[in-house]
Symmetry: C2
Subunit: 330 residues, 2 copies
């Protein structure tokens, strides 16, 4: 990480495509003091960008991270004007391989050879995006999450021809933007996050299709329930706690078999070989082994309480349950 | 809801089975001032209950909801002693149909006819649990989430023979306990939450099995990413925002087709009929239609900022990204 941090942040950032995602990228960079050049062929961008920027300014002020001075914002008439003057170019055009490839070729005509080019695609493979580029080594995926000016995660993925230096520069740039970049080491469709999101989304659609639950009921189960756990610990660390003193290995051995029960519409399950059980247990030890289960419980509970108090203060979601409880204290 | 609230809270609660779940139920009721009778055949309960109760006291004190006086805690030697003296009995024994049926029969021998009996099962069908009971009308599922003394959600499910009155009493009792009960109207394996959890869990296991990501990487994608959204809005309300002014219907029509792409290991997808699209759009309107997209964005962002500030204060998860950003402000 030390070597990564020595790279200077970009001075000028070009945003190609300014829908909700591109506009939010622009807002994040402006709030980090970088000059931003926006190209979008649609007039809608002129409406979306100021709206998103207003949201972002509000959020960063509430977060106490507003800059002394924002970067400058320029709308350009051509891709050339934007890409030709930037050392970092983020493409956020429609999710279509041919459109993106064509835009990337246009970007390359103007961009300085030293400029890094990132695509916001949520699932297209970088190797496919870069296969007709003249300098494919400088293409990376930087897949963000709505709202991009607030959610820290960005998945960084390289293709077959992406250089290690480009990955490292992207990690550095995104860190400078206040994000938590994760290098997705294996190139797969939909990367990591959207695979998880699509599974739960499909199951949710089945619940609505089958008339089991409404959208409101599904959302309530999440935001009053396990969503609170996931905001701070994810999946495996929570289950490690559920495993108690036996930890992750105990949890997997105890609950693994029930995965074969026909309890959902999506039942394809990897075989729970000794190798897989051990791999998960070892990875979990590497991840959380520095804490005892009691310590993890205390960390989890402190985070849950403080997040719910924050939500109570906003009279929203799980905070409403706390408010009701408080009103009914004897 | 008004009629629900007229029911008095339980005076004495029996906890049958005091592993992590049963112990946390006990803690929640004690902190609500109710007397609790615990039966568990294992000596481990004598260790687990005080540990969990200590965690719960810490959390409720931090939440500012500690009671003036806790209820009394009694360990009993028999199911009879616990169930015979309670007006609410919560069963949290191992996830095995035959074990639970046998325990429920034992509970019935002692329990007063007016007592409500709830099972903590995370997926067994209430109709199966109650099919040999003498008074099956008073059995409900009350499926909680770890840590039970903090997470507000509890799924309430009735079987074929469960009375409407029992559902209503359970909803009232759990509300009194500071929870957000959700009546799962259709009886299905795994109810709502565990269907969603199992889908994402299966996909996560594939990612580890296929060597794409480690447990730490998967957890980071969640807790620095979409987990933050889910802690306060769930799935559909977030996607409603992503649909912009077109709302949920626009989102579904735009992104629905990509569900058929082979982007995950779990690809069975309901057909996106006009009827399903309209159903989702209508349910989403009923759920969130009182707010404009701009208002929802502001609510979302305020919640995200405040939760991340809470996490920053605890030097944990997404709060670390904010802390790093703050340290690098110019």
């Amino acid at each position: 990480m030390d070597s990564v941090r020595k790279i200077s942040p970009p001075r000028q950032v070009a945003i190609i495509g300014a829908g909700v995602i591109g506009a939010a990228w622009a807002a994040r960079w402006l709030l980090r003091g970088c000059d931003v050049l926006i190209y979008d062929p649609s007039d809608e961008a002129l409406q979306i960008v100021p709206e998103v920027l207003e949201n972002a300014r509000y959020a960063w002020e509430r977060m106490g991270t507003s800059p002394k001075s924002e970067g400058s914002l320029t709308y350009t008439k051509t891709i050339d004007e934007a890409a030709g003057n930037a050392d970092f170019i983020q493409e956020s055009t429609p999710e279509d391989l041919q459109i993106k490839k064509s835009i990337l070729r246009e970007i390359e005509i103007s961009a300085d050879k030293s400029a890094l080019i990132a695509s916001s695609t949520s699932g297209l493979l970088p190797s496919n995006l870069q296969d007709e580029m003249r300098h494919p080594d400088r293409l990376v995926i930087g897949h963000p999450f709505n709202p991009v000016y607030l959610i820290p995660m960005v998945e960084v993925v390289g293709g077959e021809k992406t250089s290690a230096e480009s990955i490292s520069t992207a990690m550095s740039f995104y860190t400078h933007a206040g994000m938590k970049p994760l290098h997705v080491r294996v190139e797969i469709d939909a990367f990591i996050a959207d695979r998880l999101l699509e599974s739960v989304w499909r199951e949710a659609l089945w619940l609505v299709e089958d008339g089991v639950a409404t959208t409101q009921e599904i959302d309530d189960v999440i935001r009053f329930g396990f969503g609170l756990r996931w905001a701070q610990m994810g999946l495996f660390e929570n289950y490690r706690i559920a495993g108690g003193r036996g930890g992750m290995e105990h949890f997997i051995r105890q609950f693994g078999p029930s995965l074969d029960w026909p309890w959902s519409r999506l039942t394809d399950t990897p075989e729970m070989t000794e190798e897989l059980v051990n791999r998960i247990a070892e990875q979990s030890d590497a991840q959380s082994g520095e804490y005892s289960v009691r310590e993890l419980e205390r960390i989890r509970d402190t985070n849950l309480v403080d997040m719910m108090l924050a939500l109570e203060n906003n009279a929203w979601g799980a905070g409403l349950a706390i408010r009701d409880l408080r009103e009914n204290l004897n």
